[in-house]
Amino acid sequence: MSISEDTIRQVETIGSKYSAGFVTDIESDKAPKGLNEDIIRFISAKKSEPEWLLEWRLKAFSHWLDMPEPDWAKLDFPPLDYQDYYYYAAPKTQDRPKSLDEVDPKLLETYEKLGIPLREQEILAGVAVDAVFDSVSVATTFRKTLEESGVIFCPISEAVQKHPDLIRKYMGSVVPFHDNKHACLNSAVFTDGSFVYVPEGVRCPMELSTYFRINELNTGQFERTLIVADKGAYVSYLEGCTAPMRDENQLHAAVVELIALDDAEIKYSTVQNWYPGDENGKGGIYNFVTKRGICAGRRSKISWTQVETGSAITWKYPSCILKGDESIGEFYSVAITNNYQQADTGTKMTHIGRNTKSRIISKGIAAGHSDSTYRGQVKIMPKAEGARNFTQCDSLLIGDLCGAHTVPYIESRNPKAQLEHEATTSKIAEDQLFYCRQRGLSQEEAVALIVNGFCREVLQKLPMEFAVEAQKLVGISLEGSVG
């Protein structure tokens, strides 16, 4: 079940109570374009942050200035002009469409196909609605249930105030601010995101996902997520949005850090469908994401599942550091590119502990003039006795103007490790299309069906409520790719 109208109504009532809070504050302030120390001080002051966090941001910023951009990905785009972006911009209420009538009909058509309720369409399209759906208000609805189980789930800016010890201990512990240029930028200017802490022995009573569609709306550009699962804890978290969002921000640089202690498990799922640009490759989001989890404890497990269909440029490698003995890392990915989209995505599995296991299943689908690259690294450290990895990368090409590339790096420093790598590249077969069409399916239905079959292994890993929408999304992303 996706977000229900009931939930939205509930949220509305709560939202109105908070309308004078967080969001109104932002609206009254806007930082000018560009990036310098003052902007960072401004952001930090806006959030009433403690001194240590400001220092951390400034350190990241000074480091960022001299840092080269990563250039090893198979991506082609003009150099970024960092001074041309807003780093703290309020939602532009005035520019927003007043009703759905003013929204691009193509966008609405997609919502229709995904079966998204009207009310939710308005939110996604950025229509100026009466109740303000910010992360503070929505979280409140669910917070009570979560509180009873001891789970902390709140905006990261709030966690800085209320749980400073946890934030100081864990933030930047998996992705240090100097990790790469994009992560460094995020560390300097992140405006919000989520914090989750699941205490020892607690199984989080719900998917932390149901409302995320709304939550993420205006915090998307430089969000920062931190999830800590204490000993024996379990949490499943879903970020993203199956419907394309109206979004003027071209540059996105997010950071996600996951920490799993002994016997803990974190399942992190993403459905990313940011604006991909038009048929001619004009516009679209640049999505530079640093996601990494550490299986710090024994027998801990981190599982990444992603369905990436949006963005003009995707640069993303959700990774696992398998430090605890017998810990497990998993990466399940579907990346679909169409028109002029480019995706360079994959994972890094670093085996440090004994008997650590990792599993990588990547499905890349390229259509139109697009380019899809799987880039993965499996690294076995000397002490990782009994480490095992299985990697499978399958690429499916639609048409003959697109490209699919598989770039695996394998490094084993332990002679007893077992590594397996399988890769296939295929084209969608004419015979399959014809067979489907003979049974009455349209060309587009046939492509959607065949591609969904190709990705099934990965889509099955998604939480139920999003699997259905993700399946529809697969079809929609490939519309116009054949014929």
Partner: protein, 250 residues
């Protein structure tokens, strides 16, 4: 009523059908027999609308409509069904999903109400029971890892679900042992009715022992060279195709 007139078809620049004329009567089972390379499979693909084949001349009229103008899915909606000689594998797609998508696509094109999951399952179970198809077939990926017999039975099941008005069976007997052949033929026989026209294409007379045709045509060198009753099949079995191809029997 299906009327094929002076049909010329080529693939990769090579002419395969060279002026084929054929009239199929409603509710009848027509058999086309012919040697390898005579154009049997080409005919079935052209009727279903495969894009690799180019029609250079002639016409196919189906219930008064020009079939050659239509997309494959439009033909399917109008009741044209092809049981494939080599059913295609679609990895990862469950048979139930495939079949329901197909049934609903066709229903939508016919302006009929789509079936929800429950109604679909009920119908599918009914048909499977009648055809003796195991229910676990629905959970398996389409034709993946299936035996020759299973694939052909699967085709018959799809036919039963889609309820075509014109069914073309392209060498349904190929790759089947005698037991599998009997089961498949029995399935087809169940689907015979006065509104449904069959075109059974085969190389061997064997299949026609189990699916008894009303009319038999001989296809040789891209044309129908003879039409007769069921006895024509017997004659072919005994004498071979040599008389029609002008070649020595192998």
């Amino acid at each position: 009523m299906i009327r094929i007139e002076n049909l010329h078809v080529e693939i990769d620049g090579k002419e395969i059908l060279k002026g084929l004329d054929l009239t199929l009567e409603p509710g009848k089972v027509h058999a086309i027999m012919g040697p390898n390379g005579s154009g049997k499979s080409t005919l079935s693909y052209v009727l279903a609308g495969h894009e690799s084949y180019t029609v250079t001349a002639g016409s196919v009229s189906y219930e008064g409509k020009n079939l050659l103008d239509m997309e494959p899915e439009e033909r399917a909606a109008l009741g044209v069904f092809l049981a494939f000689q080599y059913p295609v594998e679609i990895p990862g797609v469950q048979m139930s999903n495939f079949l329901r998508t197909a049934v609903n696509a066709v229903r939508r094109l016919r302006d009929e109400q789509e079936l929800d999951a429950l109604a679909f399952l009920k119908l599918a179970r009914e048909k499977m029971k009648a055809l003796g198809v195991q229910e676990d077939m629905l959970k398996r990926p389409v034709n993946v890892g299936a035996s020759g017999g299973e694939k052909k039975r699967n085709e018959v099941l799809q036919m039963a679900m889609l309820e075509p008005r014109f069914a073309v069976l392209d060498e349904t007997d190929s790759g089947l042992d005698i037991d599998a052949l009997k089961i498949v033929a029995e399935g087809v026989n169940q689907l015979r009715n006065p509104e449904r026209t069959f075109l059974v294409i085969t190389h061997y007379q064997r299949l026609l022992d189990y699916i008894r045709p009303d009319i038999v045509h001989v296809l040789a060198q891209g044309r129908i060279v003879k039409t007769g009753g069921p006895e024509l099949a017997q004659q072919l079995e005994a004498e071979g195709y040599a008389a029609f191809t002008g070649e020595q029997a192998a």
